[in-house]
Symmetry: C2
Subunit: 658 residues, 2 copies
């Protein structure tokens, strides 16, 4: 039976004070959340209308009008509420809290007698409730609202929202389950939300209902086929298909390859992994492991992006990773972080923490403009001026972040993840505190009567991280486990200034120290077992150099190409720095790559990479016997997550060597 | 004023007896035409139904039933009739001729009182005739029927079909033109057909009507926008758009970039060039030149394929030439041959003959299975197993030639071109006989009282070609102009066994011979002016070696890649010969490429290319710091036009060097 080894940190125990992440958390609190609130209140003219709050006003009888937006419009508000809840945890804001409470009142007002909460069906088609689970996202919206309610409860201690959503969960529970009405969500989300609700309330029924949705998925006869036959009424999609789109093609335990809509898949797998941890379900865990290995070993971009095609926003085939027609939805990378965090709980292994890091520093952060006011839905690895965003095949690959979307799932998803980064950085097992990711600030544990760990981190721009431990009682005995990123080949770990472990053989002195400190490395983590005294330090020094990364030779699109990385950060070339037609550039195999610290008015502080490269040019006829000639060309690479912040133009992550 | 320098040969003067082309002509006569006839008569079960002849039976009152097929279904029959007409020229077949006459009787029977011929509108919607020129292809079908009628008249001397189609042309002429009803075709074709009809009949009105359609195109207000507003009735498309799709965005003389549906474009440009030749219209000629340069200099695949996207079967942007999502419709390459042949008439220049050759030996021939029973619509330059023909982006890139298509424009188009190859190989100016392309057999001219030129050709497998001249009267004075292909860097030309010209400097002996023979080279042609005696020979020896071809550095998709060619033949790598994952293969910059004559039961006689290459393999993790390692790998390349004839699998034209 599988056993949860570790649990994600409670946000109230995490404090972020970090040269990198603090910027994003403050940006989300100070800019993104107020900005998104204005959008949700329709107070910003000239961009996609949201109407999400107005829908609740109408449903609550506080306003007249028609429902507007997607059938899942409620979920935009839900994710914003969740982000706001985390923000209130990180930074008190009474005005914001008051406004959130007002919105919660609206939600309560819009709740029906029987507990039902959904503005689309309340306002527009009450007679069609629960009849089209394939398309209509009722369980999806409920899931996001439940997540928000749990977050707000955990952040503020107020239970009004939680109780509203418990009534909705109870409503769902009365309807669906064994010996009740059959049903599964067309877009997974309710499963993971019910597990959060279960933990927040201790109510076993929510765990069982989540298990029902997970176990029922993919069983025969296919629920959506049956549902389609039973209703004459259709919404937007009329094809249930073979179920691969929403992962209902086979029972979840039989799935071994990620298929279909990538966000749907991630939310399902997250719930599966969490359920396995909650119940010790070994077969579910094995399915999660297979799926995780498939996603990250065969279907993931180097940026942590997933979903290779716009058609169905979906996975395609193993190793099919086109850079230019890519989808790599921001929400999908976020979902992969969720899934991976749950896998980490089941087994603290460096490979999980590495993927989490890959997503966060690249495919997740790229979803947001550096000023917090624009957002990408699609995160390409190559942008071609004149084609991207214009030509039909590339229409979805917009070269500039839009302000908002009709389907605005990504922006608030980004906000809620960034505000809750502590959960991903810290965790606790029975006698071990895990640092999965370097995050400056502090973490407070109740272990051994209470421990505070302060962290100073130069990550990701340098590899110097220092943990200072303050136990409540001197001599408290427990373990600190520090994840050493998989990209790092050379590092040193010092306990109280003495080298205790390094990647390059250990000195006699270090061995003594390691013994004293009971320091060892296992599966990507350095474990420091110790009776901690106040002020004990653990110093990690990672050697951080620009490096070349190659894709598996099964990846057609990246043949002969190299991607530059430094630490966890993927780099890209932008037209702004390198001129047009980036595909002509070459990074010679033996070229030196030098890193330079930059302070840019738009991009902020970052490290650029600079290469004595080449540009290959041909003589000007379409086909010729003359091989294009390489000319010396200085190449500058910037972090991928910062692309598209300056002028519009070409961009590429993978560059030809040679 | 521009002046036609040359006119394409009459097919009755050409005889093909050639180790390469005879195979295809006999295949078309013996297999393709009978096979396509069976399809048109719905006698082959289990494939796409045609119904094209049955539609005429119904329209002629000889059968009961409903119209079936596309609104342009008549054009499939028309192109088959044209191919059959050429075939009868090349190879008498009384049974075929009788059956063609029966079909012509049906067409006559289906003709309406007022001359109108079109089975869709006659059977199905007579009230909607001429109301939707944007979508409904009436002028297009008429054009193809006119071409067939002219071909049949020229081949057999029988004028029944010609007269039927004259009545249709007269009907069109009564309706459309200045001071009559305004109109232009949604799919160009009628323009070039009317010019052929004009030349066959001498009737000036047809020239004028063609000129009207050409000149009216792109004038304001846009005809299709007006038409859409005037009718409530729509067919399939309801968007006239900005006119780029069918080249009606600006007047034709202002067009300088090929846009929209590539077959439509080619048929229009062919008519424009032919019209310029017919009328000396300089501005029209200049537009043709610009468009030709744009197509062949910026939007053409190395195979002579055109049309980079499935969306609208269209051109995209300059230098946008994706190999995998390519369209490169067989009809479009055929259309480029038509257009280029007309440009050649205006100015015999090597660049035109080179493009004709590029298309014919590659993108045109690839449209047909080597057994003549299957056809490609799309001609990709890269096939990826598991994606091509399966994944949405690649759905149109079918890796195996289908037997027939619902929209079956390409197969009979291929047949009519191959049966009329002589027109493209031979032409005549005032005192010059042009050999644009090496074609074994003979050509008979009426020049100087009559000349027969016999040709022996090893092309394209070797570069040895011999012309033997037989003038009716000894000492007849005229010029033979022989196109030396642009790919050829070294050649010798011998007159009666003595070197008269070579690409590598001329010996004193050769100079004398050149003087005696009045031999010179100009713009890709060797001109031999002479008083010909019976048995005079002109021998051309082209040095033919495998060579490397590179794309312009503006072509993103082919960066770092090389294409192998030998003579006019483009080569490709197939999985059958090289194993899977062809993208892993490398052709080192200094690798020797050896040619080997092959005799294959499926592919027939051909020359393969063999390279000591490499395959780059990586260690098996999706992203790694280890550069993939090259292993020695024997690479075999086969002519592109033969791809997809054996087992199904990957294929690629462009391979990484290095």
């Amino acid at each position: 039976m599988v056993k949860r080894q570790e649990t994600e940190a409670r946000l109230k125990d995490c404090c972020v004070k970090d040269g990198f992440w603090s910027y994003f958390q403050e940006l989300v609190s100070d800019v993104v959340i107020p900005y998104q609130e204005k959008i949700l209140r329709d107070e910003i003219p000239g961009i996609e209308k949201s109407h999400a709050i107005e829908n609740f006003r109408i449903a609550a009888g506080k306003a007249e009008g028609e429902f507007y937006g997607a059938v899942f419009q409620d979920s935009d508000l839900a994710k914003w509420l969740e982000a706001a809840a985390y923000s209130l945890q990180n930074k008190r804001d009474e005005e914001l809290e008051r406004r959130v409470d007002d919105v919660i009142d609206l939600i309560g007002g819009a709740q029906q007698e029987d507990g039902y909460v959904n503005t689309y069906f309340t306002i527009k088609e009450p007679e069609h409730r629960w009849q089209n689970l394939l398309d209509c996202h009722e369980l999806y919206c409920a899931g996001h609202m439940i997540e928000a309610a749990v977050a707000y409860y955990e952040s503020t201690g107020k239970d009004k929202f939680l109780n509203i959503m418990r009534r909705m969960a109870d409503h769902i529970d009365r309807r669906f389950g064994p010996d009740k009405t059959r049903g599964i969500p067309g877009h997974e989300e309710i499963e993971l939300a019910l597990l959060r609700l279960y933990r927040a309330t201790g109510e076993q029924r929510y765990l069982e209902l989540s298990r029902y949705f997970i176990d029922e998925r993919g069983t025969q006869p296919n629920y959506f086929q049956v549902e389609m036959k039973e209703r004459s009424w259709t919404f937007w999609s009329t094809e249930a298909g073979d179920g691969t789109y929403n992962q209902s093609h086979v029972p979840v335990r039989e799935q071994d390859k990620a298929v279909g809509h990538s966000v749907r898949a991630m939310y399902l797998y997250t719930a599966m992994a969490d359920m396995a941890g909650e119940t010790g379900d070994e077969s579910l865990y094995r399915a999660c492991l297979r799926l995780w290995e498939n996603v990250t070993g065969r279907q993931m971009y180097v940026t942590g992006g997933i979903g290779s095609t716009v058609h169905g926003e979906a996975f395609t085939k193993d190793y099919d990773l086109p850079n230019d027609t890519v989808y790599a939805e921001t929400c999908a990378s976020i979902g992969l972080v969720f899934f991976t965090r749950k896998m980490l709980e089941l087994k603290p292994s460096g490979k999980f923490a590495d993927v989490m890091e890959r997503c966060l520093f690249n495919g997740v952060l790229s979803g947001m403009q550096h000023d917090g006011k624009r957002f990408f839905y699609v995160n390409p690895l190559e942008v071609i001026p004149g084609l991207s965003g214009e030509q039909k095949e590339y229409k979805h690959v917009i070269p500039k972040r839009p302000q908002w979307y009709a389907c605005a799932c990504c922006p608030p998803n980004e906000a809620r993840l960034l505000e809750s980064i502590g959960k991903y950085a810290w965790g606790e097992g029975s006698d071990t505190i895990y640092s999965h990711m370097f995050l400056g600030g502090s973490y407070r544990s109740e272990m051994c009567g209470g421990i505070l760990i302060e962290t100073e981190s130069g990550y990701p721009w340098n590899g110097s991280v220092k943990y200072t431990v303050h136990p409540q009682e001197n001599g408290a005995s427990c373990t600190l486990a520090v994840h050493i990123p998989g990209w790092c080949e050379k590092y040193r770990l010092l306990v109280n200034g003495t080298e205790a472990l390094s990647a390059e053989g250990t000195t006699a002195e270090a061995e003594t120290a390691a013994k004293a400190a009971d320091v060892f490395r296992e599966d990507g983590y350095c474990y420091i077992r110790r009776e901690w005294k106040d002020g004990d330090t653990v110093q990690v020094d990672l050697q951080m150099e620009a490096r070349r990364v190659y894709a598996d030779s099964a990846v057609r699109e990246n043949q002969g190409r190299v991607c530059l990385m430094r630490g966890p950060v993927v780099y890209c070339l932008e037209q702004e720095d390198n001129g047009g037609q980036l595909w002509q550039l070459r990074i010679p195999e033996n070229a030196q790559i030098s890193a330079a610290e930059e302070q840019d008015p738009v991009l902020g502080r970052y490290v650029s990479l600079n290469i004595e490269g080449a540009r290959c040019l041909s003589g000007g006829s379409l086909y010729t016997g003359e091989r294009p000639v390489p000319y010396a060309w200085k190449i500058k690479a910037v972090p991928y997550y910062l692309w598209g912040n300056r002028s519009e133009g070409g961009m590429q992550v993978w560059t030809l060597e040679g």
